[in-house]
Structure formats: structure tokens, C-alpha cells
């Protein structure tokens, strides 16, 4: 429940703030959004499986964002769309984690273990 409230608060705050990003930096923000999404889903999965570790969660978020940003930067300099690698990895993990969460919730509410 709290993550949803947090998400709403963030969106409203972002809409109220009168700033915007210059177009040359919007690629970085897009990658950061993806990294945050990945972290959130990873975190939910881990806490469902009771393997949540605060250190791994926090360092994962920042290190992944940083690496993605660096890749984007290098990609821009070399004119290679290397940030696609980050998009692919984050996207794949997103679906994997989502699948795990789905299975977990189905198991929990349908009380059957054969899914």
C-alpha cells in the first residue's frame, strides 16, 4: 500500500515543481526511471520471498542507475545505442520479477500450489 502512496506523492510533487529537464538530458532521466522501476519490482519480489536485504536494495538502485547513466553517456559519445543494453536488462528483469510476484499472489489467494 505504502509504495502506491509514495508513487502518487512523487507524481504530484513532480507536477507541482516548475522545473523541467533540457532535452539533451532526458535520455538519462528515462534510464533512471527504468532503473527505479527495476529496483521497486526487485524489492517487492525479494520481500515477498523474504530475502530482502536493505544494503543490496539501496546499492542496487544507485549502482544500476549510475551504470546505466554511464552507458548512456558513452553511447552518446560513440554514437552507439549502448543504453539499449540497460533497457533490455531492466525490461527483462521487470517481467521476470513481475512473473514471480504474480505467481506468489496467485498461490497465496487461490491456496493451490500447482501453478
Amino acid at each position: 500500500m505504502f509504495p502506491f502512496i509514495g508513487l502518487l506523492v512523487g507524481i504530484i510533487f513532480g507536477l507541482l515543481v516548475p522545473y523541467h529537464i533540457p532535452s539533451q538530458y532526458s535520455a538519462y532521466l528515462a534510464i533512471a526511471i527504468l532503473a527505479a522501476l527495476d529496483s521497486v519490482f526487485g524489492g517487492i519480489t525479494a520481500s515477498l520471498q523474504k530475502t530482502f536485504n536493505m544494503k543490496i536494495f539501496i546499492t542496487g538502485f544507485f549502482a544500476n542507475s549510475l551504470l546505466a547513466a554511464v552507458l548512456t553517456f558513452i553511447g552518446k559519445k560513440l554514437d552507439v545505442d549502448i543504453h539499449l543494453s540497460a533497457i533490455v536488462v531492466f525490461g527483462t528483469r521487470l517481467f521476470q520479477n513481475f512473473a514471480i510476484i504474480r505467481r506468489f499472489l496467485l498461490n497465496k489467494y487461490l491456496k493451490s500450489d500447482n501453478i
Binding site: 505504502f2 509504495p3 502506491f4 502512496i5 509514495g6 508513487l7 502518487l8 506523492v9 512523487g10 507524481i11 504530484i12 510533487f13 513532480g14 507536477l15 515543481v17 522545473y19 523541467h20 529537464i21 533540457p22 532535452s23 539533451q24 532526458s26 532521466l29 528515462a30 533512471a32 526511471i33 527505479a36 522501476l37 529496483s39 521497486v40 524489492g43 517487492i44 525479494a46 520481500s47 515477498l48 523474504k50 530482502f52 536493505m54 536494495f57 539501496i58 538502485f61
Partner: protein, 245 residues
């Protein structure tokens, strides 16, 4: 999700996520309003311009500081001897003529703006006659100088010995800065003489009014003409030193 820490951490990241999403949404909407590359270019140029402006401002501040110092040294020197006092007087006069100081006094303010006469139908002639050109301004300036103006500025750009008044596209370049209409020319001198110099028969005012160019001459008892803002650097000219002096 029993773990309170996990919930808190995930919520915090969610706040960040929401914030980034809405900022990105706003930015993307704004940036796609114009072509992306165009916007990028404009952004970059804007950033460069801001940087240059800042630099310019800092240099100007430095210049003012140096001049303040210089003034103090001059005053100190003048207090120490009579000869220096006479030299200082000479220096002040030279500074006024060179446009190095703000000056005040009576004079005229001439405002020039483009013609509002309708140029349509069968009698349509070249539009160029109805807008202000560099030579129109030159004519006014020349007339003012002839009538004994001691300091002249165009749109607060002080005219000095090296000033140019030149056509630059649809603007006029003065001291390498560009100005568009309306042109406000200030001249310090005898207001009566200056005014009658401009209003002389088939003089500047009459010629310009023919084309409907809006020219007003206002006499004022007291006004300030700002100093020349740039730095004066001489690359080629050096004073000739005579023997025995």
C-alpha cells in the same frame, strides 16, 4: 511484506520514481512542442549566450573597479601639486570628449521610429523609403554635431571617435552593438541651437517627415548621457612624440 524497512525503502524509491516520471513527462511534452534538434540547438546556444553574458558582466565590473582606483590615484596626485591639478582638469575635459564618463546637461532627445503611412494600392513604392536606415541616423547625428552637441548617444550607446553607425540587416550597428527601432538619440548642447539645427529648411526632420517617419525632437533642461561601455584598446595608433617636449 512484513518487513517495515523493506516497505519504507521501496516507498522512498517509489516517491523518487513518481517524481522522475512526472518530470520526464513534462519535459518530453515541452521538448516535442518544437523539433527536438532545433530545441537542443536553441538550448545549447542559450547556455553559451548566458555564459558569455556572465563573463561580460564580470569584466565590466572589473573595469569599473579599476577606474575607481584610477580616479582615486588621480585625486591623490592632484592634491599633492598645482601642476597636477591643472593636468587633472585637462584630463576631465578629454574624458568627456572621449566618452569615458557619464555627462549631464541640457540638450535634446530625438526619437525616430519607422513610418506608419500605409503603402498600398497603385501608389505603392519601395518599402525601403519608409523605414529608418543608417544614413538617416547619420544625417541626424551630423546635424547635431554641427549644431554644437558635446556628447551624443544612440539608444544609450555613447558615440566616441571610433563609433560606427552602420546598416546591419534590419538593425543598425553602433559600437558593434545592434539596435532596432525606435532610435532614441540624446545630445547634450544648447537645446535651442540643436533643435533649430534639425528643423532647418530641407534639413533632417523635413526630409524624414516626407516619408512619414516619426521623428520627435524634445528639448530637456537636464539629462544624463551614459559613458561608453566598451574598453578602448589601440592596436595601431601611437602618439607622435616631438623632440624637445
Amino acid at each position: 511484506m512484513k518487513n517495515k524497512g523493506a516497505q519504507l525503502a521501496i516507498s522512498l524509491i517509489c516517491v523518487l520514481l513518481g517524481f522522475m516520471i512526472s518530470i520526464q513527462y513534462k519535459s518530453v511534452r515541452r521538448n516535442t512542442a518544437l523539433s527536438n534538434t532545433q530545441f537542443q540547438r536553441a538550448d545549447e546556444l542559450q547556455a553559451l549566450l548566458n555564459k558569455e553574458k556572465e563573463k561580460n558582466e564580470n569584466l565590466y565590473k572589473q573595469l569599473l573597479q579599476y577606474e575607481k582606483d584610477l580616479n582615486e590615484y588621480q585625486k591623490e596626485a592632484a592634491e599633492s601639486s598645482g601642476q597636477a591639478k591643472a593636468l587633472l582638469k585637462q584630463l576631465y575635459n578629454a574624458q568627456v570628449l572621449a566618452g569615458m564618463t557619464d555627462v549631464e546637461g541640457p540638450g535634446v532627445i530625438v526619437t525616430l521610429s519607422d513610418s506608419k503611412v500605409k503603402n498600398e494600392g497603385e501608389t505603392k513604392i519601395d518599402e525601403n523609403y519608409f523605414i529608418i536606415h543608417d544614413d538617416d541616423i547619420l544625417m541626424v547625428i551630423n546635424e547635431l554635431a554641427d549644431a554644437g552637441a558635446e556628447a551624443i548617444s544612440i539608444n544609450d550607446e555613447r558615440l566616441i571617435a571610433t563609433s560606427e553607425i552602420r546598416c546591419a540587416g534590419n538593425t543598425v550597428s553602433v559600437n558593434n552593438n545592434r539596435y532596432g527601432t525606435p532610435f532614441v538619440i540624446k545630445a547634450i548642447g544648447n537645446p535651442e541651437t540643436l533643435e533649430s539645427g534639425l528643423n532647418i529648411r530641407s534639413g533632417a526632420v523635413e526630409i524624414l517627415r516626407q516619408w512619414g517617419i516619426d521623428i520627435t525632437v524634445k528639448k530637456v533642461d537636464k539629462m544624463v548621457i551614459n559613458r561608453y561601455n566598451g574598453a578602448i584598446t589601440l592596436k595601431y595608433a601611437t602618439p607622435v612624440v616631438k623632440d624637445g617636449e
